[in-house]
């Protein structure tokens, strides 16, 4: 709430001007190299309203249009949706660092669920490997190795820390976005309207967790690989030049299901639920376990808690 008011108080004219300038410049610099290959230019998409400004009818029309488009492109049935948040829900996530074995099943389940590009490869979850001895003195993310390979997991003497979007309450990424293409939803999920992202990558620079990823070239995703259960501001297939990141499987959790990474975890280290519900797993974690968040000194207030 407070945040939204702040934004409004900052006033219209100056902000609008800056945005205009930024987008104008971006349009000129981006249009040139893209023009040749990617200009299957689609005026409807270009003129598409911001997700948060669309009326229900416009949203319905967009859903129809996208379903037609994807069915044509991939030759199978799609279920495109724009499911809203559930009342009285604020999501939170917990991860048991003492049980994580670094097997990366969550990473690959996420790729499959959320239609990440296979080539170039994009992983929303990065699993860092640390020396157990070093971690006792404090977690220094710089020391983590995201490229480890071992015959079996866990390797002796190591511990693991999977990192993805922290869905911060004070999210620096949403504050710097010049087009308002990324924001925090009422249920706490930090979402992206991919059609409004202009690829300026300010958010990538602002995110202290390296959770945002940029599509440097056209993502590839085959018809068999694509997950046809699609949320417009969730796992909708991305295009070249936009930023993407974890959205806590919006297409699943807003229907009451667990995120894909949680279900894939063989040791049960991942916990997800409604922080406003005293009966939920995440509340139990917060009340009974030792929890910590990463880079708490930055005041970003992550809703992703590590516990042990």
């Amino acid at each position: 709430m407070g945040k939204k008011n702040d934004r409004e108080e900052r006033g219209g004219t100056r902000r609008d001007f800056l945005k205009l300038a930024a987008t104008g410049a971006a349009a000129v610099s981006m249009a040139a190299p893209q023009a040749a290959e990617a200009l299957e230019f689609d005026l409807e998409t270009f003129l598409q309203k911001h997700f948060r400004r669309m009326s229900d009818e416009e949203l319905e029309a967009l859903i129809q249009r996208l379903e037609r488009k994807y069915e044509q492109k991939y030759g199978k049935e799609f279920n495109v949706k724009a499911t809203g948040p559930v009342d009285d829900v604020l999501f939170g996530y917990g991860l048991d660092v003492s049980r994580c074995i670094g097997c990366r099943r969550c990473v690959h389940a996420c790729v499959e669920e959320n239609n990440q590009s296979r080539d170039p490869e994009i992983h929303w979850i990065r699993v860092l490997e640390f020396e157990r001895e070093a971690v006792v003195r404090g977690v220094n993310l710089e020391e983590g190795d995201a490229y480890f390979e071992n015959p079996v997991q866990p390797a002796p003497g190591k511990m693991y820390l999977p990192i993805a979007c922290m869905h911060c309450e004070e999210s620096p990424c949403t504050n710097v976005c010049p087009t308002g293409a990324t924001w925090e939803e009422p249920d706490g999920i930090v979402a992206i309207d991919y059609d409004w992202c202009i690829g300026c990558r300010y958010c990538i620079a602002a995110c202290p967790y390296g959770a945002r990823h940029f599509n440097w070239s056209e993502p590839t995703l085959s018809a068999e690989e694509i997950n046809p259960d699609i949320h417009i501001i969730g796992n909708k297939p991305r295009t070249k030049g936009v930023v993407e990141k974890c959205h806590w499987c919006m297409q699943r959790v807003r229907d009451g299901r667990y995120p894909a990474c949680l279900e894939a975890c063989p040791v049960g280290a991942r916990k997800f639920g409604n922080m406003l519900d005293p009966e939920s797993e995440i509340r139990y974690v917060m009340e009974n376990k030792r929890t910590f968040v990463l880079k708490s000194e930055l005041g970003t207030k992550p809703k992703f808690f590590y516990f042990f």
Partner: protein
């Protein structure tokens, strides 16, 4: 001055490259068009929040227990062999049958602390109450009572399905082998690591794995920090 006059006039004194002005006009017009299109988009304030309709999800049925693993058909029912036999309480290596239990390890326990001597088709609690093979958690949590609260809350172990709606508890033996608990969770094979962003070049060099590794550790040097680990590496991502 009409367009015609202007055209005639310029034809006389204006020499190639005469199309330069035209290019600029076209470019300028195009730029203005792009700008105006963007201002159409900008006139919609994205920061005003969406009016979502009120939505609820029903709580769903009480959580259920995941089906316990099926018993080996050759072994079930256990009473086929064990009916009326003389029970051998001796701690020993199984040689005649159940050879796969040879490497038994579970603290100070032995078979008949869990399996019932008279009714082999059941397990038992310490007070003698029989527990079916479909409720093994009752057995486990009798001794591991410190895990019970966590497991009930869905925090030790795992639940799948719905955070709101139907959810399923995983039973203890889905993750732990009661006959061999060292280590508590058997190591498993890891999934492929991320590939290096090899489509990028840095200082004219294609990225390679060692650079990936060192960059990920915050040292943008060309040498791997841990050469021993570097050697163990193989395949995947070794793109030159």
């Amino acid at each position: 001055m009409t367009a015609k006059e202007q055209g005639e006039g310029s034809a006389g004194e204006y020499h190639p490259p005469s199309n330069q002005l035209g290019t600029w006009v076209v470019l300028g017009a195009a730029f203005l068009m792009v700008l105006s299109l963007f201002s159409v988009r900008m006139s919609q304030d994205p920061n005003s929040s969406r009016d979502y309709p009120s939505r609820t999800l029903p709580p769903g049925p009480p959580a259920s227990l995941m089906a316990e693993p099926e018993m080996d058909e050759d072994y079930w029912p256990c009473s086929d062999c064990h009916e009326g036999e003389v029970t051998n309480f001796k701690v020993r290596e199984m040689t005649e049958e159940h050879e796969n239990r040879a490497e038994f390890s579970h603290g100070t326990n032995w078979c008949l602390d869990c399996h019932d001597a008279k009714d082999r088709d059941s397990l038992h609690l310490s007070n003698g109450e029989l527990v079916s093979f479909d409720e093994t958690w009752r057995l486990c949590t009798q001794c591991h009572s410190n895990k019970l609260a966590d497991w009930r809350a869905g925090v030790h172990g795992k639940q799948t399905g719905h955070w709101r709606g139907k959810k399923e508890y995983w039973s203890c033996i889905a993750c732990h082998d009661p006959h061999n608990i060292t280590p508590a969770f058997k190591p498993i094979e890891g999934k492929p690591r991320p590939r290096c962003p090899d489509e990028l070049t840095v200082d004219g060099n294609q990225w390679n794995k060692d650079m990936c590794r060192s960059i990920s550790k915050g040292h943008a040097t060309h040498e791997a920090r841990d050469p021993e680990q570097g050697e163990k590496e193989d395949g995947h991502g070794q793109e030159e």
